[in-house]
Symmetry: C2
Subunit: 214 residues, 2 copies
C-alpha cells in the first residue's frame, strides 16, 4: 500500500497561509514568503515547465518527493483558489491553470459531486464527496506503489492526522513570522499521534522537519 505523506511549508509561528486570502493571492498576505525557498530550485522549476535554477540538497529533496508521488489529495478551496463565487462554479476548472503541476491523479474533497476533470500533463481532478477516508483510499489505489501526497489546506491535513492515516510528515519551516492567517496544526488530538523525528539535510533557506508517524 502506498504511504501517505505530508509536504508543506509553514512559518515559524505555525501558519500555512497569511490573513485575507483573495483569488489573486490565495495564500493571503505575505503567504508567498513561505514558499520562497522553493521557487528558485531547479527541481521546482522543472516540475513547473521551466529551465535552470539552483541545484543542491534542497532541490534534490524536492525532486525526490515529487518523483515519489503517485496521487494527490487536496481540499476544495485549494483546488479552486479559495472561498468565493468562483468556488461554486459547477464548471470551474480550478486555480492551477491548464497544465497543473501535479501530473498525477488529484482527489479533491468536496460536497459537490461532479465529473472527473482531465487537464493537460497527466493531472486529472477527481471529486470525492464521501469524506477523507474515501479520498485517501481512492488515492492509495491510484498511487499504486508510490506515495499519496496530502497537499492541504490545513483543514484537510488535520482531518488526515486525526484519522491516523499519515505515515510521514515533512514540514518545511520557513524563517518568517506571519503573525496571523491559517494555522497548520489546530485542534490536533495530541495524545493519539506518536511521532519519531527523522534526520534531514540542513539548509540555509528553510528548516526541514521530518517525522515517522507511529
Amino acid at each position: 500500500m502506498a504511504r501517505i505523506t505530508l509536504d508543506i511549508s509553514m512559518s515559524l509561528d505555525g501558519f500555512v497561509a497569511g490573513p485575507d486570502p483573495t483569488l489573486e493571492d490565495p495564500l493571503g498576505k505575505r503567504g508567498m514568503e513561505l514558499h520562497e525557498w522553493v521557487f528558485g530550485l531547479a527541481a521546482w522549476r522543472a516540475e513547473h515547465g521551466m529551465e535552470g535554477g539552483e541545484t543542491g540538497p534542497d532541490s534534490d529533496l524536492v525532486a525526490e518527493y515529487v518523483a515519489s508521488y503517485g496521487a494527490v489529495v487536496m481540499g476544495r478551496r485549494m483546488f479552486s483558489g479559495g472561498e468565493g463565487p468562483w468556488d461554486s462554479d459547477p464548471n470551474g476548472r480550478g486555480w492551477w491553470g491548464d497544465d497543473p503541476p501535479f501530473h498525477v491523479p488529484v482527489f479533491v474533497l468536496t460536497n459537490h459531486a461532479r465529473d472527473d476533470l482531465e487537464m493537460q500533463g497527466g493531472t486529472t481532478f477527481h471529486f470525492v464527496t464521501d469524506g477523507i477516508e474515501a479520498a485517501l483510499d481512492r488515492a492509495e489505489e491510484a498511487a499504486g506503489d508510490r506515495a499519496v501526497h496530502v497537499a492541504g489546506g490545513a483543514d484537510v491535513v488535520q482531518q488526515v492526522l486525526n484519522a491516523g492515516r499519515f505515515d510521514e510528515l515533512r514540514i518545511h519551516v520557513s524563517p518568517v513570522f506571519l503573525g496571523a492567517g491559517t494555522r497548520l496544526f489546530d485542534g490536533i488530538d495530541g495524545g493519539a499521534v506518536k511521532l519519531e523525528p527523522l534526520p534531514m539535510p540542513a539548509s540555509k533557506a528553510v528548516t526541514h522537519l521530518r517525522y515517522r508517524v507511529r
Copy 2:
C-alpha cells in the same frame, strides 16, 4: 553587550504549555512531554545537582547553553508557578525551590515591587516593575560578557520579539502534539522580524531550530 537568546521547548503544534495548568502541574496537561528530551541528559542532571545521565550532542548543547548564560529574564507566573492565590503572596519564594537551577541573577517581570530575593546556589531574583526593556537592560548589565537567557513564558518571549531585542532564537521542537494550551508565537509582528536559519545537530529525541535575528 551580552547577546539575548531564547532556548525553549515547543510542541510541533506550537505550544509551550498544555491546557489547565495548576500549581502542582504548571506546564498544564501533557506539558511535561515537551521536556522529556532533556531530563535524561547528563548536562541537565548536573545543572540540577544530579549525577549520571546520557552524554552526546543533546547533552553537549545543553551544557554549552547553560554555561553561556549570565542572567535570566522571566515572567512573574514563571517565577511563582502560575496564576493563583500564592502568586500574589508578597513573601512568596517562587516555585523553584531553595536552590533554583539558574545559578545567576534572574530578572522577574512583575507589577509588584519587592526586595531582591537571594536563594542558594547563586540565584538571586530581582523584581522589575518598569517593563521588558528595563528588565533586558538590567539583565544585560548583570550578564557582563555572557548571554541573557529569556526563559519564558510565551508572553515574555513575544514582548522581547516584538521589541526587536532577540539576537538568537533556539527552539527545541518536541515530537508531540499538545492540541491546546499556550502558544509560543501568537500575534508576532511578522514583517518586523528577519530570521536567518543556522545549522544544528540532528537528534532522535527532538528537533533543534536555531535562528539569528537580524
